[in-house]
């Protein structure tokens, strides 16, 4: 489960907004420094997910991937 999918699991409606580069609610970036993707911009009025929330989503996914089918690959 990648970072994008974790964010969409928290805010499913953002999947539709991410189909456009313009006005995307968030932006992910990988600087090849070994850290992988991180949130480089957050443009939504709702709060940016915390690392704790993202970790929790991954734990839930590992327990039951079927809970996260909607929007995962959009």
């Amino acid at each position: 489960m990648n970072l994008y999918q974790k964010i969409i699991a928290i805010y499913p409606d953002m999947a539709g907004q991410m189909t456009s580069l313009a006005n995307a609610p968030f932006r992910l970036q990988d600087d090849l420094d070994g850290q992988g993707f991180y949130i480089s911009e957050w443009n939504d009025q709702r709060p940016q997910p915390t690392q704790e929330q993202l970790d929790f989503i991954e734990q839930m996914y590992n327990l039951n991937p079927n809970l996260f089918n909607g929007g995962m690959n959009e």
Binding site: N2, Y4, A15, L21, R27, L28, Q29, D30, D31, G36
Partner: protein
């Protein structure tokens, strides 16, 4: 050796016929990837690594660690580049972007190819302060679940270039 014409931080070369080198000292580089690079899935921007240099007149391109251009002469720079992508997903959007100081500066054309490979091209003009400003190329992969591959080891297909063009 005879010197060129200098005004401010700009030095134009003296022609060979007048005893000069005829070669500009303004920064210019052309680099390419020496191996394939895997781009991860997840709708985001990934830095492109360029480990080989065709030229780098002022040694301003870091082709070892950060894969970025930090020009030591202030001015306006023209950047261009190309990425050959394979194992792409049809109708997914891909783009080349130039980042300045780690922040998105210019985005390139957004393609939604129908095949399994494509070539992205890009050009833009940006200004540099000649000391701390640096520039890197990123690729945008618009697919949440599938990454792609940047074909490397071919300077004709996957490259990044920059040239000082004016003050």
């Amino acid at each position: 050796m005879a010197q060129g014409f200098t005004k401010g931080n700009i030095t134009l070369p003296l022609p060979i016929t007048q005893g000069g080198t005829g070669v500009s000292t303004q920064p210019s580089f052309s680099v390419y990837s020496n191996a394939n690079q895997t781009v991860g899935a997840g709708i985001g921007y990934t830095k492109v690594s360029f480990q080989s240099e065709s030229w780098d007149t002022n040694s301003n391109f870091d082709s070892t660690t950060n894969y970025r251009f930090t020009p030591t002469i202030a001015g306006t720079y023209l950047f261009s580049g190309s990425l050959y992508l394979s194992t792409i997903v049809a109708t997914t959007r891909y783009s080349i972007a130039i980042y300045k100081n780690g922040t998105l500066a210019k985005n390139g054309c957004l393609l939604q190819p129908s095949g399994t490979d494509t070539v992205l091209n890009f050009a833009c003009i940006l200004q540099a302060n000649g000391s701390t400003d640096y520039f890197s190329m990123y690729i945008y992969n618009g697919n949440a679940g599938t990454g792609c591959t940047i074909y490397g080891n071919d300077a004709t297909l996957t490259y990044f270039q920059g040239q000082w063009v004016g003050p």
